[in-house]
Assembly symmetry: none
Homo-oligomer: 198 residues x 4
């Protein structure tokens, strides 16, 4: 039960998931990809579910999101916004990670509770970070709507990622969307926050 072998299997699993989706990931394909027999997989994991869970678990613990690293730095307002925008643009281009992320969400939505719970925790963390970021950026006290804004900002990225994966949005359009997203952070959101003060 060496950790090495497990990692080998998980890496093979990831490659299969990337190509075939989670529903298309069969034990035989994992075995083929890993250069093992199906029987061998059962020496390391006691079921397919366990393999998938391990794969998804490891995948989730790697993925990063806006705000995570920015938070600790001591950047100026302008620098922070710039870094966020870069980060966002970057995310749209990491097709591999997006695909995997989307599959994970899919699996959760289809009824895999364990993955669902993990993703829930992740999203709550991401939203929390973004919320804090908003406060730092616009020097506002925690307002009733900061969390909602954070959710929308995160959600918008997921939505655009889906459009990219679906082939609805092409590269040029993504450029524009990034610019709008940037402008939204600089102009739209502050305006929104002011609006509630009045």
């Amino acid at each position: 039960m060496s950790e090495d072998k497990k990692l080998h299997i998980i890496e093979a699993t990831n490659r299969v998931i990337y190509r075939m989706g989670i529903a298309g990931t069969t034990m035989r394909r994992i075995a083929d990809e890993a250069g093992l027999s199906t029987g061998a997989l059962y020496h390391h994991y006691k079921s397919k579910e366990e393999i998938l869970y391990d794969a998804m678990d490891r995948s989730l613990s790697v993925s990063t999101r806006i705000a995570e690293e920015v938070q600790q730095g001591k950047y100026s307002r302008g620098e922070v916004i710039k870094r966020i925008s870069e980060n966002v643009k970057d995310r749209f281009n990491k097709i591999d990670d997006n695909r995997m992320q989307f599959y994970l969400a899919q699996e959760a939505i289809l009824g895999n509770e364990e993955i669902s719970n993990q993703l829930k925790v992740k999203y709550k963390k991401w939203i929390g970070h973004t919320e804090e970021l908003l406060q730092r950026l616009y020097e506002k006290q925690p307002g009733k709507y900061n969390k909602a804004i954070a959710s929308l900002l995160i959600g918008a990225i997921d939505g655009i990622v889906m459009q990219t994966l679906l082939g609805v949005a092409n590269t040029d359009e993504i450029e524009d969307i990034c610019e709008v997203y940037h402008k939204l952070l600089v102009e739209g959101i502050p305006k929104l926050l002011e609006a509630w003060d009045e």
Copy 2:
């Protein structure tokens, strides 16, 4: 191929999805739930996918319909925004249909061309309508970024839908998000559009 019978099948499908999730939705179960034989299903739909797509289509086409009504100039600016907001809130509550949409998106991303094309058409319609709506609402000439804004507005909804399905956002938070979305339409977007004029 009476519309009634199709509706009957779709309703049965929805009940099965509600109880068993998409992954547990088989033709046999749909048939049983509808009180039909499996063969009968194929009399009305030529594949399982077609049933699922129709189920999704019927509910999500509401959003398109509203945008179309608005286009025909039946409403004042205030009314339009109100209706959009209502529509968005409505969409967040259709859990089963949203699940289905994500399932179909997955199929599309994994290479199902039929579904892919249908979804592409749907998204392009949504984005197109939203774009026109933006122009009418803010009396702007078609700008370079109107499409990008529309994509983001649609994407944000999908993203929030995903958060809802994952159980990240609860009912109260959805309320807040709707309100922010509303505010964004009223205050944020106009501000954004102005910003490019300066």
Copy 3:
């Protein structure tokens, strides 16, 4: 039960067979092609088998082969051979008929006894005609092997037709094959017949 309607159904059936083969010919497709409902078919024929049989029966009674019309004429030896060659070349180009013919043979081989019997009769007739032709051409008394030669001459055409349908032989090659077939009649067969005399 008007003959007209039956003919209409049979023509539709033939078009379906041509496109889909006999195995791919379903009642629904026949109905669609004929512009009728499946139920209506059962008013005119009591089963699918009966329709297919009728279609094939009519098809067989139309098809012609080398020798049939030549026999009655009073052509010279050279003219007869020329006409046969033309006839053969012609046959290779009538893809539609060949296809149908092949399907019929197929159906018979797969176990349809009635068609098998009809085809058997046809082939015996064709072979008989060809045999007589050989005698007229080479002024030989009915020899032990004339029938075998006739069978081979007929068979060769069927075999080449199959190669054409399979896409093994292209148009240029068919030209050559026709020429060889011609030469065979003129030079090869007489030599063969002589050989036995010696």
Copy 4:
């Protein structure tokens, strides 16, 4: 994927075809006959068609083998012709395999690309070998018509096979046909080749 097990499946398949005809040959019946589960069949072959193709291939590839042996120069001219004749006679007796070949040809003609390609390869090989054989037998340089002659020789066999399957030719007649075929190789074809030289 032991060759033994494959052979076992093929033998079972042949028995089923013999009893039920190709149309009545289902995976379940093959499995039952072989004493296996249907799933097991798919462990060795990836589709029903592959099983049928293999069944046909195994028996008909004998002809190819002989042509290959001959090519390697193991036999004298007389022996070669004798072996070819024996081979041809043999082929006429393999009723089940011939049935299968016609069934597969039908599939190919109707658009099954996989089978179509396999058969095309097979035929091109047969024709190619026969062509080379002609050159060796008659010590002729590659002539324009050698390929056409080869095609006709192969085609004639298929045509006679079809007559056998249809029950047009009985055992005695097959004897005669074989003899004529033999004579054709010995006397007819050389004469033909000479004819072009003059």
